[in-house]
């Protein structure tokens, strides 16, 4: 008997998770995020950052520049691998290249926004700061360990990094308005969430519809599950429409804009507005709560539309739309499958397992998070819903961060690509360092969550960094002596 009903249960769990996910999280956070990533790729000339990555740039500038490049330019592997190879072979060398490689998947704009929207701003900020500190740290360590090999740069000039790029002012404003669209939709402050007016639309039956949805997709809020509301159902329907119109309008955008392009953009705007308002179905009609979010999103959309229509050149608009669509096409299907799978898995895992293993901020718990991250490969961004599942199953936020740091950095696929460029030894050394640093990041952040004071946490961090630099200094010193003792002419 049981196998069939067991499988149906799993299927329901997966579908339910997917539906509530699309309805609740995707819109106000992920949709603008895709457009922001698209705008960054299309409108920021890469030269504005890459010129700081040449060989003659001082270390003090090249390391932060490498991190910045990771965050701003590298959402897609098309950019990550060539840029990594370029920095390593012809530019600033192994250290900044590693910093770039570490920072790009962990703290690129899409990953940060998504983590902030789904799990919490605190974890997104921790991810950003710790990735920055450790990315630069690992870069410096790698450069020191392998510094003998690092000198054999090829003899090409710095010309590749010399190009100067200038970002147009209007493109910058466009980007900032996109960011404010995201913020006004997701920030939870009174000014934005307060309701200023209520509109009652006389559609009856919406409350029954919502009850029907709750019956169809049962949920248990104690387990951190969410149901699908009537508003959610409308939004999912709109998402499907956007998908269809975008396919017709964006796929052939290089042949020119067509009616579908503008239809899909208008639908996106409409969807964001509907997602921003609050809806409460009653038996007499549907109450629409006009809140601050609605006005914020509306203002941002109007400005964006105006810039898009009058200020950007046709090439810029086309590149922007194409890059955004490309991200959606590349990432969204994987995300849908991933979220579905998470729903299925959630039904299989017992919370007690997670709680015993990683319910506390222990060394073992953090190690478990890292090991899971290293051996499981999830496509871009899918690590976030998975992390959310662990959180709702009782994982401590410390090991959770350890997992979030390790998972995007280390996948078999990326290790293989890297090793064709820098060799096996360097790749595995890098992997070991990432594993160590992720564990530490989890421990430190976990201690902070558990109530350790900022002072104590920074003390841990400083002691660790001091120990590390002492060790490095020692190794460096010994190597220098060794090389000095070798006769110069051999």
């Amino acid at each position: 008997m049981n196998i069939l009903s067991f499988l149906t249960d799993l299927l329901y769990s997966g579908l339910g998770n997917l539906a509530s996910y699309l309805a609740a999280h995707v819109l106000l956070c992920l949709l603008p995020a895709f457009y922001i990533a698209g705008a960054m790729t299309a409108l920021i000339p890469k030269e504005t950052v890459t010129r700081f990555l040449g060989r003659n740039t001082p270390k003090l500038i090249s390391y932060p520049a490498a991190a910045l490049a990771g965050s701003l330019l590298a959402v897609c592997s098309c950019t990550i691998v060539p840029l990594f190879a370029g920095i390593y072979k012809k530019g600033a060398g192994l250290g900044p290249a590693i910093t770039f490689l570490f920072f790009a998947p962990a703290a690129n704009i899409l990953a940060l926004i998504y983590t902030g929207g789904v799990i919490g701003i605190d974890l997104a900020i921790a991810r950003l700061i710790l990735s920055l500190a450790f990315g630069i740290g690992i870069g410096i360590i790698m450069a020191l360990i392998f510094r003998n090999e690092d000198v054999e740069h090829d003899k090409a000039t710095d010309a590749m990094f010399a190009a100067q790029g200038k970002m147009r002012c209007v493109a910058l404003i466009f980007l900032l308005v996109l960011v404010s669209l995201l913020l006004s939709g997701t920030l939870k402050v009174g000014l934005l969430t307060d309701t200023y007016a209520t509109l009652t639309v006389p559609i009856s039956g919406m409350d029954k519809f919502q009850g029907f949805l709750y019956n169809l997709i049962p949920y248990d809020s104690t387990k951190g599950e969410e149901g699908v509301t009537a508003q959610g159902a409308i939004l999912i329907a709109l998402l499907v429409l956007i998908g269809i119109t975008s396919w017709k309008g964006m796929e052939n955008i290089f042949d020119g804009f067509n009616i579908w392009t503008w239809t899909s953009l208008s639908l996106v705007a409409l969807t964001l507005l509907i997602a921003a308002v609050g809806m409460s179905p009653r038996s007499v009609g549907l109450d629409i709560l006009i809140n601050g979010k609605f006005f914020g999103v509306l203002t941002a959309l109007v400005i964006l539309g105006w810039i898009l229509k009058t200020k950007l050149t046709e090439d810029e608009t086309r590149d922007f739309l194409w890059e955004s669509w490309k991200f959606v096409k590349q990432i969204f299907p994987l995300l849908v499958v991933g979220v579905f799978a998470v729903g299925v898995i959630r039904a299989l895992i017992k919370p007690e397992w997670i709680e015993t293993l990683a319910g506390q901020n222990t060394l073992l718990g953090n190690l478990a998070g890292v090991v899971f991250g290293v051996f499981m490969y999830f496509p871009t961004l899918v690590e976030v819903p998975i992390a959310q599942m662990f959180l709702s199953l009782g994982m401590h936020r410390g090991p959770l961060l350890a997992y979030l740091m390790a998972d995007p950095e280390l996948s078999l696929q990326s290790i293989l690509i890297i090793s064709t460029i820098i060799g096996k030894l360097k790749s595995w050394t890098y992997v070991a360092w990432v594993a160590l640093f992720s564990t530490l990041a989890g421990l430190i952040y976990g201690a902070w969550v558990d109530g350790a004071s900022i002072g104590l946490v920074s003390l841990y961090l400083i002691v660790f960094l001091a120990l590390l630099s002492a060790l490095l200094w020692f190794v460096n010193h010994r190597n220098e002596q060794k090389s000095a003792s070798v006769p110069a002419d051999c």
Partner: protein, 83 residues
């Protein structure tokens, strides 16, 4: 005859550039060989920082973005004149 190389590992933009290149060559009804370069060591030999890259007669003409059909037509015309 022109030799056109599309540099890229096979990401969406690289495939798109290859399509456009084929289309331009057809539209101009010219003789050209279009080669896909996917090996990173070969790609790096052209000094580019992001793919897709477009190389006409061993000269790098564009990198990191998809040039429009009009631009590619200009690149090819220039290369033909230089021949």
């Amino acid at each position: 005859m022109l030799t056109i190389k599309v540099l890229g590992s096979g990401c969406a933009n690289c495939k798109r550039l290859e399509q456009i290149a084929h289309k331009v060559v057809e539209d101009m009804s010219m003789q050209a060989e279009i080669i896909k370069v996917t090996d990173y060591n070969d790609i790096m030999a052209y000094n580019i920082l992001s793919t897709p890259g477009l190389v006409v007669n061993e000269k790098l003409v564009s990198a990191g973005r998809i040039p429009s059909e009009a631009e590619i037509t200009t690149f090819l015309t220039n290369a033909l004149m230089a021949e």
